[in-house]
Every structure is written in structure tokens, then in C-alpha cells.
Amino acid sequence: MKLKNEKKKDALCTLIAIAVMLVVLIVMELTMKSTSILFTVLKKGMIYALVAVSMNLLNGFTGLFSLGQAGFMLIGAYTYAIFSMPTAVKLGDTVYKYYDCAISLELGIFPALLLAGLFAAVFAALIGLPVLRLKSDYLAIATLGFAEIFRAFFQWDAMGPVTNGANVLRQYKDLTKVKIPFTNIPFPPTLFCFLVAGICIAIIVLLINSSYGRAFKAIRDDEIAAEAMGINLFKHKEMSFVISSFFAGISGALLAMFQYTVQAAQFKTAMTYEILLIVVIGGIGSVTGSCIASFLFIACNEWWLRFLDESSNNILGLNILRSGFRKVVFSIIIMIIVLFFSKGIMGEREFSWARARAFFRDPFGLVSRRKKPAVSEEVSGDA
């Protein structure tokens, strides 16, 4: 009974926290300059959080080591850009300069977002059939290979009427084109990212906590035992793969909206590695970890460390600060995390109110540390 009350209280806390966060976001968007780098980081951070969580669903919860995330983002981004582009732009020659666009359909923002996810899911279902029979490293390499093949396929000349060849797609409906429904007032762009990505992440969390999610975890922990328990391995693996790709597709579409332009060349393996690093830094198997890590990663990469690149910040006449130093520092930080905190920020745990309360009572274990010797003595005495 007490447990149930605790649960209800925690759910209420979560809801309040989300509401407060959204209100703060709205107030910030209304009062601060919209061009502030803070919003850039928040938007990109949220988009990466979504794709990191979707990758975590595969790698952390189902135990499938896949490196194809960039490929599915590519599919999502292109689907969104092509279908949300106004027909007038498609017929004109500012975007499709060298080809005649073969797709005349123009969709609204939400149908296009959904279609982006669906296309990625369909491709995933198709390549999942052969690829998911492979194990661990081999699966990783095969998915990585498919992501590279997608990229080349989208850049292919013969695909030009659809994908504009290897050239950029632009002038589709980006974040500034989102309107509050039934009005002509622009929707706050950061809020939009948070709402769409937040809902997607919430769906993934619900899935993880459902009976399917338990089956995924069973497969991760021991395939053979899971199969013996009557879990259909292939069905569940394919399901996890398709769902993960669906959300990767949506985050690709959001990325396209955020960037204003999209081009196949950016979805390289390096991008998958970045997402993988986010997942690992956050903790493999922790949704909150992936979210926190994604904001930290993007903020460090694009904002906080920028001052290291400016030679005007050099002190003592040393000439170490110059273009590129930021990245060196950043990769050293990543190496430190990987080597010394290999469980990541959250490990396999999720954020919980109980732990948060405990943390505030005793931050960094400073209080309990003094008591610890007494405890261990007790234990050794027992032994």
C-alpha cells in the first residue's frame, strides 16, 4: 500500500517537473533573443536525445549492437525534406536545379514527420530480415555497411529526380514554418522540438516498461534462456530494430527541420559514432542517461568549449589556444569518461525521485563517507 502511494507521488512529481520545464522553456522563448546559442544547443540536444534513446533501445535494452543509426536518420531527413517541400519550390529551379522533381505531393509538417519515421521503419524491416541473423560485431559491421550503402544510393545520379542527387535539399518546411494550429502565429521552435522528441521518448519508455520491453531485456541478458522461455527471438529483434529505426527516422526529420538544409554527405559513420558515444556516456541501458549525455555532449561540442578555439584567449603568451584545440580537449574528456567511468553517467539506472531526494540529503556521499568505516567494520565483524 505504501509502495503504491510512493509511486503515485513520484508520478505526480514527474508530471510537475515536466510542466515546470515546459513553462520555463516557453517563458525563455518569449523573453530571450531567439538567436541565442542556448536555443541552438537545446534544440540539437533534444534531437540527439531522441536518436540516442532510440539507439539505446537497440543496444542497451535488446542487446543488438547496431551501427546503422545515421543511415536511418538519413532516410528520415530526406523523406521529410522531399515531402514537406512546397510544390512551387519543387517545380522551380532553386532546389532541383539539375533534375525535374518526380514527386509532386506536398504534405504538412506532421504527416511528413510521420512518413519520415515510417519510411525508415520500412527500410529497417527489409534489411532486418537478413541482417538480424548475425551476431554482435558482425551485426554492427553489416548495419554500418548498410548505412554507407544508403548514403551512396541517395547520392546516386539516377535517384536525382527524387533526392536531388548529391546536392542539398532546402526550402522545405523548417522549424520557423511551424505554426500554432488554426492560427498564423509561429510556434516556439525549441518548444516544438521538445514536444515532438519528448512524446517519442515517452512512447519508447512505455514500450520498455511493457511486456515487450521485458522480452527485449530477456533477449539482451541471455538469448538462449529467453528462447527457452518461449520468446520468439526473431520477432522481437525485428520489432526492436524497426521501432528504433522509426524514431531514428523522426529524429532525422527533426534534424532536417533544425538545420534548414540537408545533404546525404553529412550522415557518415562518424555521426553514428557520435550517437554511440552519447549512449555510452549516458550509460548503456538508461534512457535518462542518454538524454542528459546528449545535452552535455552537444553543449560541450558546440558551445562551452568554443573559447578554446580563439587565439585571443591565450594567456601568458602561450600559443596553445587556436583553431582545433577545442576538439582535442573534447576528445580527451571523452577518453577520460570512457576509461574511468565506463558505466557512464547513469549506469543502467534511471532517474528516480527517491535517489534524487537521497542525493540532496547527502550530495556526493560527503556525509556518509565519514560513517563508512564503521559500517565496514560491522560487516567484517559479521563475517
Binding site: N59, F65, P130, V131, R133, L134, S136, D137, Y138, A140, I141, A142, G145, F146, E148, I149, A152, F153, Q155, W156, D157, I224, T269, A270, Y273, L276, L277, V280, I284, R322, S323, G324, F325, K327, V328, F330, S331, I332, I334, M335, V338, L339, S342
Partner: protein, 294 residues
């Protein structure tokens, strides 16, 4: 005859680049054989060897620079293993792989920092860089030297692994890590030796490769690294002859495809080959069959 005349440049280029790929692929395959680790940083070690050469040859004569490059590259490979992989020996395999990705990131970014983001021109090596004509095809001498040198090195390596104490220990460790340790083999030194050999070959590979394509950038290691890794998987990861044959096949096929005018697909071909072999024969051409353990 005219067919030969026309296709010879492509085949020559393919054989030469295949030999260079082979030298890098051996590093991948040996490390995987022993640690079950895809060493993503290996392509960057290859690039770093090129950078060492660029910077050293600016102040030293080539006779001194080349041995120093080999030495520095070996040292780099050794240090990477000690600093980034050894502490994670008991961690899950995924953590080690992430560490490899992190190292690759670090090497690339350091190279970016020290070069200021500019492509560096690789020094001309006398004799190797000279142009020669064979059967009417004009090419650099390095094109002809590469396959011969590659085969010599591979034969040497095979003998080394078959007959020396370290070689036997390597085979033992790759067969069964734990048992080898119990038998008194110093696993850590064997692993270091593997990295040293892999880096040495990568350094030789980089000398040949960059003499042919004389420009080094921080990302120069990326694509060749990925292709060599595919070559290692194709040949059956863990198998040295497999890696060499895989590398030659990929090098030659890639150039023939470019010669046919399908340039967009030269990279795709590599990956398509990879996926086909993984689906048909997941252990590669010469790989041993892995058994599932409960």
C-alpha cells in the same frame, strides 16, 4: 593488346593499392583474432604515420626520418594499447570498442590541431617516386614495389607466427585467452607484440600509400581504414592470408569499377561485398567457424 593497354593502368593501380590495404588489414585481423576487438583507431595510426613522416622529413634527412617514423608509429600503437585497451581488459567488449572509437577521435583531432586543418604534402621518396613505363602504362615505381614488398612481409610474418616463441604464444592466446594465461603465457606482452607488429606494418603501408597519393589530412585514415577492415572481414577475420587476399580483391575491384565509370559506387561495392559475404559465409573466406557457447 589494346585491351591490355587500356586496362593495365587500372589493374596496376588496383594491385598496388591492394598491397597497401593488405598491410593495414593485417593489423585489424591480428588484433581481432586475439582481443576480439575491432580496433577502429588502426586507420588513424596509419594516418599518424603519414603525419610523422611529413613533420620529420622537414627537418631530418630521409635516411633518418624513415626509421624514426617506423619507431614512432610502433610506439604510438603500443601506447594506445597500454593506455586505452589494457585498463578495460575485463570490461564488456562494447566498452573497449567505444574506447577504440574514442582513440580514433583523439588522434584525428590532434592531427587537425597540429596541421591547422590543412592538407600536408608528403615528401617525395627518391627511387620510389620515380615514374617508370611498363607495357606502355606509365606509373610510379612504388606501384611495382608494393605487391612484392607486401608478399615478402606477409611471408616473413607467417614464418614468425609459425616458428618463434612469441608467434606460438600469439596463436595460443587467439585460440583460448584464459587457458593460455593459465599455461603461463604473459598475455599482456603477447598483446603488446600484436599491436607493435600491426603498427609497424601500418607504418610501412603508409610509406607506400602516401608516396602514391602524396597528401595527408587528418581524415586520410578514415576511408582506407574502413576498407581494410572490410577486407579483413571478407577474408575471415583473424586469418592473415584471408586479410591479404581480401585486400587485393577490394583494391583491384575498386579500381576496375572506377575504370568502368561507376565512380559513385566504388565505395558501395566494398560494403555490398561485405554484406554479401556476411550473409552467405559470416566467418569470411578463411575464417574458422565460431561456436555458440552457453
Amino acid at each position: 593488346m589494346s585491351f591490355l593497354q587500356n586496362s593495365l593502368p587500372y589493374i596496376l593501380a588496383g594491385i598496388s593499392v591492394g598491397g597497401q590495404y593488405a598491410l593495414i588489414a593485417i593489423g585489424y585481423t591480428m588484433v581481432y583474432g586475439i582481443l576480439r576487438l575491432i580496433n577502429f583507431a588502426h586507420g588513424d595510426v596509419f594516418m599518424a604515420a603519414g603525419m610523422f613522416m611529413v613533420f620529420l622529413s622537414a627537418s631530418l634527412p630521409l635516411g633518418a626520418a624513415i626509421p624514426l617514423v617506423l619507431l614512432l608509429t610502433v610506439l604510438l600503437g603500443f601506447l594506445i594499447e597500454r593506455a586505452a585497451y589494457k585498463p578495460l581488459r575485463s570490461a564488456p567488449r562494447m566498452s573497449v570498442m567505444i574506447s577504440a572509437i574514442g582513440v580514433s577521435y583523439l588522434i584525428q583531432n590532434c592531427a587537425l590541431y597540429f596541421t591547422g586543418g590543412l592538407a600536408k604534402v608528403y615528401p617525395q621518396l627518391p627511387w620510389l617516386s620515380d615514374t617508370v613505363t611498363i607495357f606502355g602504362a606509365v606509373t610510379k615505381r612504388v606501384t611495382l614495389v608494393t605487391p612484392i614488398l607486401t608478399i615478402l612481409l606477409v611471408v616473413g610474418l607467417s614464418l614468425f607466427i609459425r616458428y618463434t616463441k612469441v608467434g606460438i604464444a600469439m596463436r595460443a592466446v587467439s585460440k583460448d585467452f584464459e587457458t593460455a594465461r593459465l599455461m603461463g603465457i604473459k598475455v599482456n606482452s603477447v598483446i603488446s607484440a600484436t599491436f607493435i607488429i600491426g603498427s609497424l606494418l601500418a607504418a610501412v603501408g603508409s610509406l607506400l600509400y602516401f608516396t602514391n597519393y602524396a597528401s595527408v589530412t587528418p581524415t586520410s585514415g578514415g576511408m582506407p581504414g574502413l576498407k581494410c577492415f572490410v577486407a579483413a572481414v571478407f577474408g575471415g577475420i583473424g586469418s592473415i592470408p584471408g586479410a591479404v587476399i581480401g585486400a587485393f580483391i577490394i583494391g583491384i575491384a575498386e579500381n576496375i569499377i572506377k575504370g568502368l565509370g561507376w565512380t559513385t559506387f566504388s565505395v558501395v561495392f566494398t560494403f555490398a561485398l561485405l554484406i554479401i559475404i556476411l550473409l552467405v559465409k559470416p566467418t569470411g573466406l578463411f575464417g574458422e567457424k565460431a561456436t555458440d557457447k552457453v
